[in-house]
Symmetry: C2
Subunit: 263 residues, 2 copies
Amino acid sequence: MRIIALFNQKGGVGKTTTTVNLGAALADAGKKVVLVDLDPQANLSTHLGVDPESAGISTYRVLTDGIPLIEALRPVTDNLRVAPATTDLAAAEVELVSVVGRESLLRKMAEKNKIDADFVLIDCPPSLGLLSLNALVYASEVIVPLQAHFLALQGMEKLFDTISMVRQGLNPKLHISGILFCQFEAAARLTGEVTGEVDNFIASARGQNHPVSNAIVFQTQIRRNIKLAEAPSFGQSIFQYAPNSAGAADYSVLAEEVMKMKV
Amino acid sequence: MRIIALFNQKGGVGKTTTTVNLGAALADAGKKVVLVDLDPQANLSTHLGVDPESAGISTYRVLTDGIPLIEALRPVTDNLRVAPATTDLAAAEVELVSVVGRESLLRKMAEKNKIDADFVLIDCPPSLGLLSLNALVYASEVIVPLQAHFLALQGMEKLFDTISMVRQGLNPKLHISGILFCQFEAAARLTGEVTGEVDNFIASARGQNHPVSNAIVFQTQIRRNIKLAEAPSFGQSIFQYAPNSAGAADYSVLAEEVMKMKV
Ligand SMILES: Nc1ncnc2c1ncn2[C@@H]1O[C@H](COP(=O)(O)OP(=O)(O)OP(=O)(O)O)[C@@H](O)[C@H]1O
Ligand SMILES: Nc1ncnc2c1ncn2[C@@H]1O[C@H](COP(=O)(O)OP(=O)(O)OP(=O)(O)O)[C@@H](O)[C@H]1O
Ligand SMILES: [Mg+2]
Ligand SMILES: [Mg+2]
């Protein structure tokens, strides 16, 4: 079972869009997939057409009431289940501040039962706080969605520091498995500069004890495609909403690449 | 003096880009402008070419060491000063959890001295946590940068709830003065749907006690323009980097509209 955190504290880079559509593509390819919404915005839940406030267990209750993660799972399509978030998850950061082992609560509640899945994908909020830490402690690998913009590149150092911190203490096997360019505009001058910087950085980290030393930059780039931004308003993945779009093609190819990776 | 929080918990909508370029346009128009970076990503500081880790007082120290805001101000250009952030601001949320009056620390430190400014613009992080609350308690008005995407629209209710909460307790005069469409793509079908929904919502809130009842939707729309994403890598505003670009035109026109508003 691969447990993948979609993590980047920079806002709006494509974390939720990737969690939903990579998840749906893996499920369509016959893999058993679980998605976990750890963002108080509950965008993942909304994108899948799940009403966060409707009946059922949310990730907020998994963390604060100690309910096993398996009890929060709801079926979405064949092979795809989701643990939805509610907006009160925003309160968890403050409520859990003095709880011992607060960073490991998700892992603890997930490991209460054997979850029958090939992939678990966790959608993180745009922050380095307690909710993202819970994802990083439970995950075995991190995929970093990245927009090829300067401001998104700026935060990478802090992102690496956070993963290093989790590796040293709570989860030694955590590593970045891949960096994924989202909302990709190949023609923009800035794009070439940023992709070049990322390639150089990874090359210089090879062989060292660094969170990104074994990472790849996915060959698949998710192109800007307005259909990806339209799909959430129908509560659908890109494959249900616009199966012939560039967005659907890109996420299908990405799923192939993710399944072939050596991890 | 108008104290404006650029606030939207949705990530990547254009908060930082608007704070820098609206600030620069107001300064170029002869207004005295102060920018405050309250985001631990320190993107505002980087965008202005200010090294967050260099010597000087940061907003982290303003909040945690009780240093008057005026002492954190550094000159950027004529009429423009900034209070920069450092990445350790991320720790402030946890460090201040048990401090009495923790939501009002920024206001308290700002009001220690008379700040000679026509406009104070505060860049908020993508969250509803303590840092954003500090901005909302100190601000007299909120401008909401919004991308015309479904997921960005989803969070508006929670955004209104947060502003209502601050109005009831700590800052009764707080209101949303304007909603600004950023990264605007007029041709996209989704754009028409979202702008229509926002217009309808505001119209239905008129005359009620609602944070958005007196808001306008700015006539100015900030178009998608890659030059706006290139400028930060040079530490410049759009006016320094690409004065003849659509981005520079849009933010100039916005500044005119902001100066003419009745508040
Ligand atoms: N490849 C793409 N082409 C066009 N629009 C996209 C693409 N990927 C994502 N979007 C849109 O861009 C916006 C940001 O994407 P998304 O919400 O997935 O990012 P995020 O990193 O999860 O944001 P947050 O930091 O707020 O959680 C959304 O409105 C989404 O619909
Ligand atoms: N009108 C625009 N056209 C093109 N790119 C833009 C535009 N406005 C902002 N950007 C780029 O889009 C990205 C998101 O913008 P920005 O960082 O200002 O948003 P934000 O709301 O401050 O994000 P965060 O939630 O992470 O603080 C940045 O890389 C920025 O350079
Ligand atoms: Mg998201
Ligand atoms: Mg920002």
